[in-house]
Amino acid sequence: MKDSCSSISQLLERYFDRQATDEERSLVERHLPVCQTCHKRLRALEGLRKAIKTPVDEALKEETFPWVWEKIEREIRLGKKPSWQESVRSWLDLSPISRKKVWIPAVVTGIILILVASPLLFFKKPPSYLERSVVEYVESGVYNVMVYESEKAKVTVIWLFEGPQNESPAS
């Protein structure tokens, strides 16, 4: 195989992807130290891979997948709709609850809980305007937007990211 720059540059991506044969690999590795162009091209490929891959690796490192499986399970369950009789039956589970020893104290407990909880539920002070977000809505067809809020510092920051292209506003 000719060890010329044009033939090597065709092998470069295969070498970079570790898909080259042994012969191809040694050809490239002999060529790289003496060719700035191919060396630069390899660096550019590495830079591109880093730009694509690193954020993904970092995101996965910190990710705990909170409640993902539970949500999947629930969605699948909701997709299957039981008949109303099955729902009532499974909820009541009639055999133990039909006994007075169980359901009378349960009902009494329920009533007490309702009486205690109702002032909290029905007379709860509506949140003051300070507790709600300062930003009611934000729309942009051009920018990516991040909103930072601080009650303590009494400041809200709406930060706009421009795309690499010129603005082409979506009217």
């Binding site: 930003v135 009611e136 051009v142 920051v157 706009l160 421009e162 506003p169 009217s171």
Partner: protein
């Protein structure tokens, strides 16, 4: 006449107790700021924002480009040119004793680049920033006087 007098007194009482309201206005301050890392000067007129800007951003220089005080009446937009062919349009859409709701649009060539609605209360500042300007970025600082 005697029968109408109590009615007249009632009407006059109501009139003076609840006089017709003038259209509600709120004074909103808009400052257009260029933030950059060129130089280390903070415009003296941004003294009140210095603490907030310094704690939020690492820019070393803040230059005031425009300072406008707008008296906004309900649903009457006020437009201010900002930079590079863009303008900001602010409309008061709600006013209470200690709160004003403003619709804020950044526009260019008649189209919206940003459309947002914010709620200002005493002491609250809203900063809208990010678009490039010169060597840095532009930051719009909005606050209201109650």
């Amino acid at each position: 006449m005697k029968k109408r007098t109590p009615l007249l007194i009632l009407v006059l009482t109501l009139f003076f107790a609840f006089p017709p309201m003038a259209p509600a206005q709120v004074q909103t301050r808009l400052r257009v700021i260029e933030a950059s890392n060129v130089g280390g000067v903070i415009d003296p007129s941004l003294k009140d924002l210095h603490g907030q800007l310094g704690s939020l951003f690492r820019y070393t220089s803040y230059r005031l480009l425009r300072d406008e005080r707008l008296n906004l009446s309900s649903n009457q937009p006020a437009s201010v040119p900002i930079h590079e062919g863009r303008s900001i349009e602010i409309t008061q859409v709600g006013l209470q004793a200690n709160r004003v709701e403003l619709r804020v649009r950044i526009r260019r060539d008649g189209a919206d680049l940003l459309n947002t609605q914010v709620r200002l209360s005493p002491g609250r500042t809203v900063l809208i920033g990010g678009p490039k300007h010169g060597e840095g970025v532009v930051i719009l600082a909005l606050s209201a006087n109650f």
